[in-house]
Every structure is written in C-alpha cells, then in structure tokens.
Symmetry: C2
Subunit: 239 residues, 2 copies
C-alpha cells in the first residue's frame, strides 16, 4: 500500500526491513478524494501529513485576480505536505487532479519516527530537499527558458519521477492534466500551451494522445530541455 514510497526511498539509500515496517505502520488511515477537490487547504494547520498513494495532485496558490500558479506536481509515493510537520500553517493548497487515494500520517507518528529512526528521518528530510531542488528547476525553466524548452523539461522530469515509482510503460506515461492545468504549472496561457504541444508533435519529440504521453526521442527532448537529472538524486548512496 505504501510500496511506492518505499520503492522511491530505496532509490536514494538502502532501507532495512525494520524501516520498511515503520513506514508501513505510519499510515493511520486512508481516504479517497474525488478529482478537483482539495487535499489540503491554504491556512490549514494539519495534524497529519498526506501521503499520495494513488492519483495526481498539485500544490497551488491563487491570486486576487483569479490566476493560479501550481508550484509542485505530485505523483504516487510523494508526501504532498510533509513540511506541515514543521511548518504549522499551510501557505498553499493542494488539489487532486484525479481521484486520489491518500494515506494520513499523524504528525505524532512522524515525531516518533524522527526521534527513533534517525536514518529514516534523514531520508524523509531528503524528500523535502528534492521538492526544493525541483522548485529550483522550475524557476530556471520559467525564468530563462522559452515555453517550448520549458515544457520539454517538465516532460523529462515527470517521466523519470514516474519511472521511479513504476508508473511508466516503455517511453509512455499518463499525464491526466488539461492544457489549462498545464498552463498553471508552467505560468503560461492555455492557448500557448496548446500551440507548444502542437510544436512538440510537429517536431516528433512526443506523441500526446488524450492523457497518454509517449516520448519519441528521449535524447533530443533532453537536449532541448537541457535536462540534467542530478536534482532528482536518483543514485543510491549512504545518506
């Protein structure tokens, strides 16, 4: 049930059986959340952190003028608000893009883990550091890359992240986001996202049918994106 998280952590470092047991016991209860509903609301003071077991979710902020910016995409195996363990008040919301199954991990449990399982605790810390590193990649892409390269970068990132948790088939993966939602991820308008996707197709970098994205030329896609996977820390080493 929590296997995607375990699988992900094992990419970073070896996990003992005891650690895996601790993780398995950490989810107090699970919940189903329908699409387009909030998993966590801005302003909340959660008493649990939310582990995404199934589905896609996103952290976002709304502006006065109604615009929305998505600051993180989450896939199964991700904690969407592990930081609420220490940052008591949520400064952003988290929305389900698809129906989601989530596991609630009480902060008291996290506290026990951080007190008693120092290595596991470092790995949890690491996942929040990777969130931050991903934010930085997005900043670079938004600030200094044209839309075309920016989208290419996002596709590279999502492919590797989904592969890590076993959610790719060959060079394909499911991306259940509308073009409007993608615009909110990239800081672009829906119309422009559409044009750029068209260009990705024309240049035969990807096939994109419905929610299924297939990367047709990984090397060239990675090239235009200037994608360097270092920030994902996908190498197993002592941490």
């Amino acid at each position: 049930m929590i296997s995607r998280l375990i699988r992900r952590l094992e990419r970073y470092d070896f996990l003992s059986d005891e650690e895996k047991q601790v993780l398995k016991g950490a989810v107090a209860r699970t919940k189903e959340v329908p699409a387009d509903e909030d998993l966590v609301r801005e302003g909340d003071r959660p008493t649990d952190s939310t582990l995404l077991l199934d589905g896609f979710a996103a952290r976002y902020k709304l502006l006065r003028n109604g615009k929305r910016q998505i600051t993180a995409l989450h896939v199964p195996g991700d904690f969407v608000d592990l930081h609420s363990f220490l940052q008591k008040r949520m400064d952003h919301g988290v929305v389900a893009f698809t129906p989601c199954r989530i596991g609630l991990v009480p902060h008291s449990t996290l506290r026990k883990i951080t007190d008693q399982h120092l290595h596991l605790s470092r790995l949890l810390w690491l996942t929040t550091l990777i969130d931050a590193a991903t934010h930085r990649e997005w900043l670079v892409a938004m600030g200094r890359r044209p839309a075309f390269n920016q989208i290419a970068h996002l596709l590279c990132e999502l492919f590797l992240r989904l592969q890590t948790v076993g959610l790719t088939q060959e060079m394909s993966f499911e991306l259940p986001l509308t073009q409007a939602e993608l615009g909110d991820v990239l800081g672009l308008s829906t119309v422009h996202v559409n044009r750029i996707i068209k260009e990705l197709r024309t240049k035969e970098l990807v096939t994109w049918r419905g929610d299924t994205v297939t990367i047709e030329d990984w090397l060239r896609l990675q090239g235009v994106a200037e994608f360097d996977p270092t920030f994902l820390n996908l190498e197993n080493e002592p941490r």
Copy 2:
C-alpha cells in the same frame, strides 16, 4: 559570530543554552570569499555545509546560451547549502555578490547534531523547508505576476528576512545587487528591471539610492505584491 543564525532560529522556536552552544561549536573554520567568486560550485560534493556569516550570496544555474537564473538569495544567518548534507552532489552553484565571510560546518558535525540534538535538527530541517517555501513564492511571482508586482514582492521578502537578522534600519536595507543581477533573480532583462524600478520610484513606493532601498509605503507595497509573510514562518511555536 554565529549569532545571526541563532537569532533567526529563535524566531521559529525557543533554543536552549545547550543548543546555542552546539551551534557555536559547529563552525569548524571561517573563510573570506571575495565578491563574484563561487562559494560552492555546481558538481561539487562538499564535505562541509556553508553558513553565511556576512555578505550576500546567491544560488544560480547557468544555461548553455549563457543566461543565468538565480534561484535563491542568501543573507547572513542562512545556510547556503545545508542540503548538501543529504544531497551529495551540488546541482547548482553559489556565488558571493559581496565579499562574504562564511563558516564551514563539517557534515560529520551535522551528523552528530542530527543524531544527538533532535530538536535542533528539526529546526535545521525547518530552514530548508523555508527555502523551499520561498522558492514557491518566487514561482508564483514569476509565473503569474507582472514584473512590477514581482519586484514589489521580492522587496517585501528581503525586508522581512533582513529584519529578522537585524540588518534593517527603520524601513531601509542594503541591497548590493546590480540591476543585471536583479534581472537574473527575477527572470527579467536588465533593461526591464531598470524601467520597473523607475516605476516604483515614480509611484513613491520605494526610494532606491545606490545600494540602499527604503520602503516608503509598506502597506501599499505589500498590497501590490499581494505579499503574505506566512511562508517565512516568523512565528515562535513548538516545532
């Protein structure tokens, strides 16, 4: 010497005398770094984390076409690469904007702290979470705000962060960045930064003489920036 970090952590939660002693003992040695030199280089595998004692520094990434994006600004009391404790390889560089005095904290010392001082260790984790929250604010500003509001937001953020470590006078602070460097922070061209600063002056929101910025109308500035300080976690609570 390390007092700015202590002062900052005390904004988040109470620190025991012992914890302060531990922090004071953590800096193995200090170093002076001239302006425009790297504190940490991309690709490094640091054995120490760098605490900024004096000066301004920035994390950045370079693109093939020579463009640069700055992903974080750091002020005294900040760790610029605490994450290198767990993310072994640096995926970005850190440059000194002014002459900097830095304190090197060996990862072995950090390991000891995280093993033996659980509360302190949570507070260090918290600082990296605040880094991430700041990244998210920048994402929102870059993605969905016009340049004018974006700069206003940055000024609000820097004012509060500098105030936290005692580096403001009244409503003024030193901002030793050229307009080109500001452009790299904001994802804008130098020319446009210049125009927007002119507009900030015209609208009498700030005075900006040399490196000194004075906020003339905090409420209005905060208003156009839609600035909500929640992400800085400046409230003292048990963590």
